[in-house]
């Protein structure tokens, strides 16, 4: 079962694998709730419906029919092209992240069924270096889109990426934005249906590429979604940011997403959209 982190912006320290208590204080309503109760129901707060972080694995279980997921391209693995070194070498950081999260990279891609409809499915997990898009995330997603094009499958990508591009891979990381967007343009030309699902957080280079290119864009309630980080904006304009800035609701109001969908309804909403588009 996925673990829940009390803090909003949970991506920073998902307390995965750490033994945790019976009780949990909800970030949304500040009520004390039973952890198991939330975990039983999509990692939502039973009192206010606050959406806690879920792992990529858990997301797959929630959205795809049980046992239908088949992973693609797990052999595509990260490397350290820049020999990047901040307070520790990037190669060590990768190993540590892999060990901590149990993921080989920030994106998991493959195929599965949604209420008996075959789809190409991808998810980025904000626990792995903020879900940032390095070469492997870009490559796995580009291959996912290409296979969806060849096999004429509807495409669902659930984004949870606070980091956008991945600094440790420099310019190679930035170019993944163009690479995945170009693959999506071909998929679009072939008549494919792409449903992009935005979750907390979807920022920077991920927001400014595939996440914003869905034929349909859904978002979980109260997710942080935007281009520039709130702190960067505050440092630039030197003003307080308005309440609710860069949330799903803010984006809906400004016309950038189609629907806000709660997690318990996500599977049925996706299935319905696929049916409407005749895919």
């Amino acid at each position: 079962m996925a673990s829940i982190d009390e803090k909003r912006g949970t991506a920073r320290q998902p307390k995965r694998g750490v033994p945790h208590g019976l009780w949990l204080r909800c970030t949304g309503c500040k009520e004390t709730i039973f952890r198991s109760e939330a975990e039983k129901f999509f990692n939502l707060c039973p009192k206010c419906g606050y959406h806690f972080y879920v792992t990529a694995k858990e997301r797959i279980n929630q959205v795809l029919d049980t046992g239908t997921f088949e992973e693609w391209d797990k052999d595509v693995l990260p490397t350290d092209p820049l020999n990047f070194h901040d307070n520790k070498p990037y190669s060590e950081r990768l190993t540590a992240e892999q060990k901590r999260t149990g993921l080989s990279e920030a994106a998991v891609t493959g195929t599965g069924m949604i209420r008996a409809r075959r789809v190409a499915f991808g998810v980025t997990d904000s626990a792995f270096i903020m879900g940032s898009m390095g070469s492997v995330v870009g490559e796995r997603l580009a291959r996912l889109v290409e296979r969806a094009t060849e096999q004429r499958l509807p495409l669902i990508i659930v984004s949870g990426s606070g980091g956008g591009a991945r600094m440790h891979e420099g310019i190679l990381s930035l170019m993944q934005m163009a690479k995945v967007s170009a693959a999506l343009a071909r998929y679009d030309q072939a008549g494919g249906l792409f449903i992009s699902v935005l979750t907390n957080p979807t920022m920077g280079g991920v927001a400014a590429s595939f996440a914003s290119l869905g034929d349909l864009i859904f978002a979980e309630p109260r997710a942080l979604i935007g281009f520039a980080g709130p702190r960067t904006i505050m440092a630039t304009i030197r003003l307080e940011l308005p309440k609710g800035f860069q949330t799903s609701e803010f984006l809906l109001e400004h016309g950038y997403i189609d629907r806000i969908v709660t997690r318990d309804k996500l599977k049925s909403e996706i299935a319905r959209a696929i049916d409407y588009c005749g895919k």
Partner: protein, 336 residues
């Protein structure tokens, strides 16, 4: 004195320039005096060459940001015979950080799109220092579509610290417009040449950066994040920008090596800011030559080539393909 506002590492150059000016002003034409002038000239050239051959990554950033460096507007007048500005984004407003319009390059009609930084304080503030808003990217895309419709090649001139981070920019869909620009540029049925002339600031650069050929001027940089931004996140302080600049490997030669850019256009001795005309002539030569190449390619091949160019970018290990080729080593893909 020139040194007050100049680049710190150029101090020896300024000293020699001052000395030369002094000598030239005191026009006593004795043979010794002429010899001295020749000697200082030679030393100046050597010093400049030495300094510019050994720029650190951080110094390259300073050169790329030098306020006398030619901007898009300078190239518009120096490279092209005519520029007819087209303003409308037909949506929200006119962004001065993005210049668009028809231009004439030696009898070849083209559409030019470029970031503009502005030189005086007034210009800079009108252009938001080259940081475009969503309306700028929308305007750029609208003009690129216009170009494709009427069979005109597109030239994108990149020079931005990054797309503008602000409330209005977010409200008007900064993330969406950059995504849509890359999406549409990847399949725009006309030749596209992109040139980074100064700062290639992340998504803001890539928003007009998808093309058949991507070139960089020698002392420009093109990065996933500004060195200050990277230092702030990874080293928790902007003071480590020099360190970040080194780690990010964002100079023209690095990008050539990574297969991100196709060409590096050499700058005149001591950087583009020392000789706008010579720099413009080299850029012009590159554009004419590249345009001739691209115009010979049928559109479907052009688009396929553009797709494959970006599709190849990235560095990763692919265990599956290694197994297939029967090699034992895991070091395969590397920087492809």
């Amino acid at each position: 004195m020139a040194t007050q506002n100049g680049l710190p590492f150029e101090a020896p150059i300024y000293q020699l320039e001052d000395r030369l000016r002094e000598l030239l002003a005191n026009a006593g034409s004795s043979p010794e005096h002429d010899d001295e002038i020749r000697r200082v000239r030679r030393e100046l050239a050597e010093t400049t060459r030495r300094i510019y051959a050994n720029l650190t990554p951080w110094e390259t950033v300073l050169v790329a940001r030098e306020k006398n460096r030619p901007y898009t507007a300078d190239y518009l007048s120096l490279v092209f015979d005519e520029f007819v500005e087209l303003h409308g984004d037909k949506f929200f407003g006119d962004d001065r950080a993005m210049l668009c319009g028809f231009a004439n390059l030696e009898q070849q009609k083209v559409v030019v799109i470029g970031h503009q930084k502005g030189r005086t304080y007034k210009e800079r503030s009108a252009c938001n220092f080259g940081c475009a808003h969503p309306e700028g990217y929308r305007k750029a895309l609208a003009k690129m579509r216009l170009a494709a419709k009427f069979g005109l090649p597109v030239i994108c001139i990149i020079d931005t610290p990054g797309a503008y981070p602000g409330i209005g920019a977010e409200e008007r869909g900064q993330a969406t417009v950059i995504a849509q620009n890359m999406y549409e540029m990847s399949r725009l049925p006309t030749p596209i040449i992109c040139v980074v002339i100064g700062e290639g600031g992340s998504g803001g650069a890539l928003g007009i950066g998808v093309g058949d050929r991507v070139a960089m001027l020698e002392h420009s940089y093109y990065s996933v994040i500004s060195p200050e931004g990277c230092a702030g996140i990874l080293w928790k302080s902007h003071q480590f920008a020099e360190k970040a600049a080194k780690a990010l490997r964002f100079r023209s030669r690095d990008l050539l090596q990574f297969g991100i850019v196709d060409s590096v256009i050499d700058e005149p001795l001591g950087g583009a800011h020392r000789d706008h005309h010579r720099m413009a002539a080299r850029l012009k030569q590159y554009l004419i030559k590249t345009l001739r190449e691209l115009r010979a390619v049928p559109t479907p091949d052009l688009l396929l080539g553009r797709y494959e160019k970006f599709r190849r970018m990235g560095a990763f290990l692919d265990q599956a393909s290694i197994d297939q080729s029967g090699q034992a080593s895991t070091e395969a893909a590397g920087v492809r």
